[in-house]
Structures are given as C-alpha cells and as structure tokens.
Amino acid sequence: MNEKARTRVGGPEDPREGLEAVVALRRTLEALEAAQVENAFIAGWSYARIAEVLGVTKQAVHKKHAKRIRAKYPGRPPGRGGA
C-alpha cells in the first residue's frame, strides 16, 4: 500500500476521495458480480439459482449477464443445477 492509502480519507476534510472511493467500489462491485455469476455458470448453476442467492429475479440476472456469458461460452446451456 502506498502513502495515500494509509491516510484516513473520506472525512469532511476530504470529500473528494471519499466520494471517489464510492465510485471505485461500485465499479469493482459490478465487475465482481459479473465474475461471480460467470463462476457460478461455469460450475453448472442455473440462472434461477444464481438469482435466488443474489436476491434478485431470474429475469434481472438474465438481462444483465446472459448475453455476455452466452457470447463467451457458445453452445453451452445454463446448468440445471439446484433450485
């Protein structure tokens, strides 16, 4: 970690860094979700089961991830794994 990382940020004295951390975390969260949905798909999980664990509808998962995953793994149907 660099010098900046050890400084306490995000307090009222440094709103910019605090806000930028929110943006960075949001971007990381999106990438992490994409990765974990893909990991679950590779493990044979169905979109229904993935959606259940993510706490969203199956349609929502499908809309957000199915196209990307289908393009990356052509000819591989989503798994029937689990609920």
């Binding site: 900046k4 951390a21 975390l25 949001r26 990765a35």
Partner: protein
C-alpha cells in the same frame, strides 16, 4: 474501467489514445503518454481509491479468479457521464471557435482539458503532463498542419 454506469472523461482520453491516428493521440504521445501507461494509471487511481477505504483490488482480483475483469464490456451501451458530456459539448465549441469543419480528437482533448477538476486531467497530471503543456502542444501541432 468497468462496472461502469457511465463513461467518464478519462474514458474519452483512453479512447483518443486508442486511435493511433489523430492530432490528439500524437500530442499525448509526444508528451510521453501511451495507451498502456494511461490504462495502468487509471487502474492505479481506482486501486488507490479502494485502498482509501480498506479494500484491496488485488485481493478482490485474487478471490474472484481469472474471470474477474475491470475493463469496459464491449457490446453494452453505457451512457456518457455529465462530465464527459460537458467535455464533448465544449469540444464542439472549440471546433467552431477554431474555424475547423472536421471534428477531431484534438477538439475532444481541448474539451477535456477545459475541466481542470476532471478525472482525465488529474490522470494526466499523475502521468507528469501539465494541462497547459498539452494545450500548447496541441496548438503547435495544429499550426503545423495548417501551415
């Protein structure tokens, strides 16, 4: 970067660098800014922001495995951020003010540079490029093209 709800002015900058042709990329390259370097700096800025709240990008990457990817997903429509939109509006104005009839990367770059508080300018500064120096270089290269 990904996870993108919107494309920021730093993404416009990366876009300019990814087109080899154009006065914009030429000016940036002449000051030592490469696409590779800018991408790394962009990720470094994101990593620093995460580190400031105790999150390690490396840690996330390690745990999520090989499929974790922070790059902009292709094929997904992502809107421009208000800051990026402003830069583009400003770019068009620069084009008109300069009397050019072709919209080029130099205009976009001037539009980006108009916002000294933007992420793109802060990225350039971190890369050792003063906004004024880049502006001068752009006008220099334009002058050469015109003459």
């Amino acid at each position: 970067m990904l996870g993108h709800d919107s494309l920021g002015d730093e993404d416009l900058l990366l876009g300019i660098l990814s087109t080899d042709a154009g006065v914009g990329a030429e000016a940036l390259r002449s000051l030592g800014v490469t696409l590779e370097g800018a991408r790394e700096e962009s990720e470094e800025m994101l990593s620093d922001a995460l580190a400031s709240i105790g999150v390690s990008l490396e840690g996330v990457r390690r745990e999520a495995g090989d499929v974790f990817d922070m790059s902009i997903p292709s094929g997904r429509k992502i809107p421009y951020s208000p800051v990026a939109k402003n830069a583009l509006v400003r770019a068009r104005r620069e084009m008109k003010m300069l009397g050019d009839d072709q919209f080029g990367t130099e205009h976009v770059l001037l539009g980006i540079l108009a916002n000294r508080d933007g992420t793109a300018v802060r990225m350039l500064v971190r890369l050792g490029v003063a906004p004024e120096a880049l502006e001068d270089r752009l006008r220099e290269l334009r002058g050469r093209a015109a003459g």
